[in-house]
Symmetry: C2
Subunit: 686 residues, 2 copies
């Protein structure tokens, strides 16, 4: 099988012989890889001129819908992905992380996009900024899609997840992707891309695939393109220093090497649930995916007082791991990805052994299930133990990308912090303790060195996703050795593919650009009460100004008696006066908003369906008996909810007193029917 490149809307095989890719299990050829003959100028031009426009004209919600459809489609095809995945050395559990884990990333980003981003193409970053005294000049930060391409360079260990975790935020950002998988497992990525393209769910140009070298691709990049790299720090440094990347300030993010640490708290002595959890977590991180995870635990930081117990417990647990053909149900751990990796890991273990003693594993000859050690690239789980780790360096800097980890002992929490920091930047760290004081001290001491940290104890163990699992909700990446990059983290990861810009202008202009009404913008007369208008009929700025109502002392007392809220500031003149904020009895805040609703609500059956909430309510001025209140309601933001028949309408509410002072400001959240829904409901009655 010759892998295809998907470029400029067509499948194209390389011109040359290509390089053979071999099964990790038995060394048999699986496919050949070759990108020679690909016109990389055409690839990037296609992304910019076809993919970008196709994606960026969809709203965030529409893009989210595509991601969900794609996830559902891939779920239907997962059987063939699982089958091919065993050739990479993955057990069923490993494939679950790669395939189901990757697909779930699409689901989460779909959901985040539709719940946390607007049904629009501009993302608003924070509230407007007041920049002038009279309010004619304001600021608003926005994010817009970069009109370029995202180059994704992925690692060999997760051929599906590695593509999808980058693809989901990129597509949600409205940016087309050019995916380059690592060669050794590219055949699985290629299969998944074939299915994605066949589905027709993504718009043309949104996704291209390069199996093999990227030729002169980098020569064509501009500041509107971006690179997201996962792999070795050495390669990252080379790419980052590419003259074009430097001269164009091409946004570059990298996930690279990482000597991730897991710290056992001093409270977690043998016999505690936490000690057992630690042993289980370390064992799983060492052996899952044969330790070929950027986030795996490489450094086991434990109190010196328990290190003998720990060596014993971990050796026992590792001894129970069955190694062999990953297609076999009885096998817990498969081979490394290739013989090259096998040689590489062996060399790294030799380096580590200069500073640490091998206390388990490290043998070339060990039992295999249904597999031939000469054909497959198997590696025995190997545990090392370093007694004076503060004095050593290789144990903190040498990443053996396999089932290898080193115990480093500490005597004080300060030492544990110092050891964690010696990793010089990691993707993931963990702390196993049932003492939150210990947790806080270790987190504050080491968080700046980590992209993600897990604090594990008996209370969350059953639901914990584990040390090594990046989650689409949370950022993935880390400082220093880990590359200094960041991906995922929900909307955070989407924004990495967009440009933040501070806009300045009149409230009106910025309302017209960002589609969120800003105070000071035009207050339009909708002709009718805005509650008479359907979702489509409502325009931003449609405004209702109420009659005014005087609040009496009777009202306040009545409200108190009715609701039961007899708080002294409302009820006892003398006590209210002793309060630094009031000059006497004041109306309840809830009275103010209740009366305001009584003033702005249009009661008759109509397209406004429900008030589902209130945001950012602030009482800015006390309201005393005898004061009167008026409310101004303006249509602030509209978010259509797919084809449910309604959409969210956010109203800007402002309550003023008889002196035009602002008493309260807030957003009222309503659901409003669409034309279609409203017409159908209305017709049911007539």
């Amino acid at each position: 099988m010759k892998l295809g490149n998907f470029v400029a809307g067509r499948w194209q095989e390389g011109n040359g012989q290509g390089r053979a890719l071999r099964s990790a299990v038995d060394g048999q050829p699986v496919a050949t890889i070759d990108s020679s003959g690909v016109d990389f100028a055409e690839v990037i031009a296609h992304a910019r001129s076809v993919g970008g426009p196709n994606l960026s004209r969809l709203t965030f919600h529409e893009r989210g819908d595509r991601l969900k459809a794609l996830a559902q489609f891939l779920l239907q095809h997962k059987k063939e992905f699982y089958e091919l995945s065993t050739r990479t050395g993955a057990t069923r559990a490993d494939s679950w992380i790669d395939i189901d884990g990757g697909i779930s990333t699409l689901f989460v980003f779909s959901s985040k996009g539709r719940r946390e981003m607007p049904n629009d193409v501009v993302y608003l970053d924070g509230p407007p900024e007041a920049l002038s005294k009279n309010g004619s000049f304001v600021g608003q930060h926005v994010y817009t899609s970069r009109p370029g391409a995202a180059i994704h360079i992925n690692a060999f260990n997760f051929p599906c997840w590695g593509m999808l975790e980058k693809l989901a935020p990129t597509l949600l950002a409205g940016v087309p992707a050019i995916v380059k998988p690592a060669s050794s497992t590219a055949y699985l990525t290629e299969l998944m891309v074939r299915r994605i393209i066949e589905s027709g769910i993504l718009p043309p140009g949104a996704l291209q695939l390069i199996c093999g070298g990227v030729g002169d691709l980098f020569e064509h990049l501009t500041c509107q393109d971006s690179i997201a790299f996962t792999g070795s720090k050495t390669t990252a440094e080379m790419l980052q220093a590419h003259p074009r990347v430097v001269s164009e300030s091409v946004p570059f993010t990298a996930e690279t090497d990482s000597l991730n640490a897991s710290i056992l708290g001093p409270d977690a002595v043998p016999g505690t649930p936490e000690f057992d959890l630690f042993v289980k977590e370390v064992t799983r991180e060492m052996t899952s995916k044969a330790g070929q995870k950027c986030t795996a635990i490489r450094r086991i930081i434990a109190p010196s007082s328990v290190s003998a117990d720990l060596v014993r417990a971990l050796s026992d647990a590792l001894g129970n791991i069955r190694i062999g053909d990953p297609a076999s149900k009885d096998v817990d751990m498969g081979p490394l990805a290739s013989h090259e990796q096998q040689r590489e890991v062996r060399a790294r273990v030799a380096e580590l052994a200069q500073e640490a003693e091998i206390v388990y594993g490290g043998l070339d000859d060990f039992d295999l299930l249904d597999a031939d050690p000469k054909l497959g690239s198997f590696f025995m789980p190997t545990l090392l133990h370093c007694e004076k780790p503060l004095r050593e360096s290789a144990v903190h800097s040498t990443e053996a990308f396999g089932p290898v980890s080193t115990i480093l002992t500490y005597d004080t929490l300060d030492e544990a912090v110092e050891l964690a920091r010696l990793g010089e930047g990691s993707l993931a760290g963990s702390i196993i303790t049932n003492d939150d004081t210990v947790a806080r001290e270790l987190v504050l001491g080491t968080a700046a060195y980590h992209g993600r940290m897990l604090i594990l104890n008996r209370h969350c163990a059953a639901e914990s996703t584990g040390h090594g699992s990046p989650l689409p909700h949370l950022v993935h990446g880390g400082p220093g050795r880990a590359g200094g990059g960041e991906e995922m983290g929900g909307v955070r990861g989407v924004l990495h593919y967009m440009q933040r810009t501070a806009l300045q202008g009149t409230p009106e202009t910025l309302t017209n650009i960002g589609h969120r009404w800003i105070r000071g913008s035009e207050q339009k007369d909708p002709g009718v009460h805005p509650f008479r208008k359907t979702f489509e009929q409502l325009e931003l700025g449609d405004t209702f100004v109420s009659e005014s109502r005087t609040v009496t002392l009777d009202d306040i007392e009545h409200f108190a008696n009715f609701t039961g809220d007899h708080f002294y500031a409302h009820m006892v003149e003398e006590d209210a006066r002793r309060n630094p904020f009031f000059e006497g009895r004041v109306a309840h805040g809830y009275l103010i908003v209740s009366f305001a609703a009584g003033l702005f609500v249009d009661p008759d059956f109509g397209p406004v369906l429900a008030n589902y909430g209130v945001d950012d309510l602030r009482f800015l001025q006390p309201l005393n008996a005898g004061d009167s209140l008026t409310v101004r309601l303006a249509c602030k933001q509209k978010t259509l909810r797919g084809d449910t028949g309604y959409g969210e309408v956010r109203w800007d509410a402002e309550v003023t007193n008889q002196d035009d002072e602002i008493v309260a400001q807030y957003d009222v959240l309503t659901m409003v029917a669409t034309n279609e829904h409203w017409n159908s409901v209305r017709n049911e009655t007539t």
Copy 2:
């Protein structure tokens, strides 16, 4: 005068002869600069071991207090800064931007820090993320201070503002700074640093100053340090490629060259206020600070139909600019910073003149007020005109860092967008139009190429801060040629000096780390009603669970009649049923929160002073007549308000029905008295 270096808590002069710095006005020596002999390992060690710990143990509010005190202190000393500033070539108006503008940055960051950040050392990024079904395992993103140093490398044009705009967010982040000003105007920075150190307001180690080369400083950097650079793209590229910066992934941000464009809308023809505003804006941007601003307008993008009028109007306006000794009140524009700059700008104009015609200025001989053209580095404002700008390149890539700008003409909006994009990334762009449709089209087409964009029209002109003014509230920086960096933007700029980390664990553990109570954490029994406790006595998690109250149809009708809110969903059974969300008449949302307050409020005079707002109120389940409600209130977050005698206490409120379904969730915001205040108020009565 020999400039001092402030290192490791002491002033230290260079060992060598140093280099003479000369006045831009008359070429007379002002100072010598020299950092030879400085031990840069000591500098960075001092920042890490003294400055970092001193700053990071202060809360964001305490750091904000220091910034405010510093701003007030510097205001008192501004006379001597203004006096010295004239030697740099700055007019009084130029110095106002540099000195008062710089000080105001401190004020804004102080205010942002105290209003938008917690009174704590950990900054919470977003709400908790639900990661598990039963809620025992959640996520929370936090930012913590990097335990390293921030290296600030500043440009010559704004020796005060350039330092302060970087210093304010850095110190607020809890990170010590090492400031290296550009040599030619370093004497003014040095004077301001002397005053800052004398004030004693900043803790030891928070600020160090290097006047001259930075020697082997970069060799000592790690991933916890960072570099913020302002200057030429060439220098930025060199620094960014430093082996240590690359190998340690040292966070690096740069503001560099920028061919900023200002676009005149097609509606803004001669005779409109916008045409006149455009002429004024361009003239100011060309001549303010003699055009030596990274944000100045270098490319004037205008409809070809008005270009003749524009050349005339701009030539007239530039002809009125009086050039000479910046100390003279009659002078509008001073000299360039040095003869070197003068030669440099002259060379760049020659390059531009290959593609564009000089239509104003460009002469070596021109009138000066109170100044000698041979001694000072004066430069005549120079306007060029390019008729086929889409075919040219130098006009889009050559930055003449002086009073020089080029008119580029367009025929369609698409062409205007294309011309703006040819700048390949800018710090600031502007659009002058009174047509918001034009504004939206141009912004969506070009925002991704800009860090900041001003949309100027007649309505905001009086309050506009202008094309070229970065504001502390808004991000400053831009993609591509502009360096790909970002600074300021309020809290955004602070976070660039901190590390974002995703934490995972039990709600309880994350509450203990982030000091914001997360649902699922322990609900503590405070012994008394929590409204009886002072600010200090309250603990996160202190919980009150109310009695329950049944809501009757009478209650709903009574509430409707009392408030005037007769919305059909509450009043008309048949209409309510037609609503997709309800199965019959439902209670008002405001009734629910009012009754909830009646249930949770403890009425007697006490330390709780006021309810000042509500956040994130969501009605999750309709409440029908006959349902009952119970409310659970838990102390969620405490924010002491300096020495006002009170602090903000945020309560997590959850209203449930008789089936334990959640009816409503929200945050109640209260002001609560401190012990001291409460004791004094209570004693007044007894």
